[in-house]
């Protein structure tokens, strides 16, 4: 067990390391004015070169990469923001934005996941029944209609219907309702889809047939055997869903002007704030990788049957 965990963690760290290298090298292609803030046009060419030299940007790329990694590991320093908040450490900029995204995200996950799982359970109770048909239709529509379209339509008509403000305001609780509902919709759809699938898989197993033959009550079969086994693979999704709230919801946060993480990457890109872009991309990828890792580990803890020593068993 321990050996497996150590191995997985090391693999994940390796993946993050490779991603950092790729992103770092790619981002060296950005125009250099992204390091100067608003002063770029005011400086002469010599001053710019001086400035770049001082920041270590004229070194060969591997040297820069090494310095970046050393700073990251020793003092968790990702550089200074140059445009969004001038000369403020990138980590501070990000830390100020995270809480609001996490707040929205956690609420919608807390509402959406149980609802989605409940919907999935209802769908699996009777194949071709009302719940199954309605649920399948809902999942299909949410999958098929492009997210930007339904999200903007919800904003347009939802705000009219509820009389809520069109954009987010800190002092208005009403303005939080629609973003949270919009975030919940896809979460419900994904969870319902997988829950139904795992439930149906489990219902078709032989041991369920045996239980039926033994005349175990249907509800007992359903909740003690089917549900418990179907929930195990669902736990795989939980860590990533929770960690993923840090990403924020790019589309929704932009639609409702929520000052969270989702908008930050876009703002940084449009403002050409190189250090911030780099930090965000690396952070997002790292969260994705560690979310998956935690999901696998959690699943192994929840279900002792999953043998970790067998190659690829936890995947």
């Amino acid at each position: 067990m321990l050996a497996y965990i150590v191995k997985r963690v090391l693999r994940s760290i390796l993946s993050v390391f490779i991603i950092i290298c790729i992103v770092f090298v790619l981002l060296r292609m950005l125009p250099v004015e992204g390091y100067f803030g608003g002063r770029y046009d005011l400086l002469t060419e010599e001053q710019r070169q001086m400035e770049l030299y001082r920041m270590g940007l004229l070194d060969p790329v591997p040297v820069q990469l090494f310095n970046f990694l050393r700073q990251l590991v020793t003092e968790f320093d990702l550089g200074l923001s140059s445009r969004i908040r001038v000369n403020v450490p990138v980590t501070t900029v990000i830390a100020d934005r995270v809480p609001i995204s996490v707040q929205f995200g956690l609420i919608s996950v807390a509402i959406g996941m149980p609802l989605g799982m409940a919907l999935g359970v209802m769908m699996s109770r009777k194949k071709g029944g009302v719940w199954d048909k309605a649920g399948t239709g809902y999942v299909a529509i949410l999958n098929a209609v492009p997210a930007p379209v339904y999200m903007v339509l919800i904003q347009l008509y939802g705000t009219m219907l509820l009389g809520a403000p069109l954009t987010f305001r800190f002092d208005s609780p009403m303005s939080r309702v629609l973003p949270i509902i919009t975030m919940c919709l896809p979460i419900i759809a994904i969870n319902a889809f997988w829950m139904r699938r795992y439930m149906v898989d489990e219902i078709n197993r032989d041991y369920i047939k045996l239980a039926q033959i033994k005349n175990v009550p249907t509800t007992t079969i359903f909740f003690r055997h089917v549900f418990r086994n179907a929930v195990v693979p669902m736990t795989n999704l939980i860590p990533l869903s929770i960690l993923g709230t840090i990403w924020g919801q790019i589309i929704i946060e932009r639609l409702y002007s929520i000052p969270g993480m989702g908008g930050l990457l876009i703002d940084a890109i449009l403002a050409r704030d190189n250090a911030l872009v780099q930090a965000l991309v690396i952070m997002f990828s790292a969260i994705g990788i560690f979310g998956l890792l935690l999901g696998d580990l959690l699943m192994a803890f929840v279900d002792p049957r999953i043998r970790l020593h067998k190659k690829g068993a936890a995947r």
């Binding site: 993946s15 991603i19 492009p146 379209v149 790019i250 990788i289």
Partner: protein
Amino acid sequence: MSKYNVWLKTANKLEESIIDDFRARVTASPDDLTEENAAKLPAEYFQFAHNEFKEAERAGYSNYSYWGSTIRMFFRNKMGVVTFAILVVLMGFAFIQPILPGQLDPGTIHDDLTAVPVRFYRNVPPQFFEGRFFLGTNAIGQDLWARMWAGTRNSLFIGFTVAGISMAFGIMFGMLWGYVRKLDFLFTEMYNIINNIPNTIILILAAMLFGPSIPVLVAAMSMWAWIGHAHNIRNLTLMFRDREFNLASRCLGTGVFRVIIRNLLPQMISVIMLRMALAVPIAITGEVFLSYLGLGISQVTPTLGNLLEMARPLMRAHPYQLLFPAAILSVISICFYLAGNAFSDSADPRNHV
């Protein structure tokens, strides 16, 4: 060579002794038929019978044809047929729309600056058949109807090229990945890395580094999408490569290339078609998404994404500018999704008969 000369035609194929015997008999006996009677016989009596290898192979088998069954199954599915028909009509119309009479140019700004007083045609509401602008105009006075169809064309182009390119690479590398076990580690590591970077970030980075244009978007989306396809194909390859039929085929000395093309690929058609069908709307949505972020293709090239983005700030005042492109986009996505699912169901041999 005479048409009726059986001897000449047949004799070439016979051995010398038989030829001699045959010649002796033919020359000895007089003609059985007079010339008129021979002319009355149907010409096909004098044609060689076909010796078709494929026909010979069929003997003893049912006349099952994979594509025939697939198409028959597909037409039994009403939802699939309807959505497929809608798609065909929509795409057909998008491509013939510019050559229909009375269409306006999508790029022209229709403000009349020479008139006195100056006339603006901005944010004209839909006029349908009562005026020049069928669906009205946008904020700078361009015809929305023409822009909508031009946008549909461009978006479909993006969707189809991304689906085609990524699927081609996906099949190629997926087969290699599944078939050549030594490459497994390399590809798996690559999959872990590419798949862990969110799609949106790759798109955003590409748009930022190389500037948003159709080729850049297509390249960026294909770059991300191929590995997902490849992973799926790899799993299928692993499933089929050790099946008995393939083992038998390999024991008979079939080459790797032929095994892949003739034995494995046909088993995967249904999955491939489904992924292709779903890849098109995903790519179209990707473009819409980028436009939302303000990183999309410039307004000079209309796409569904930048039509929506241009209409979004005005959605309270002029909802029609948003609703029509949104409707087209949704219809296209839903139809691809449903038709793709219907087709993959019917292409799955397990559902045949």
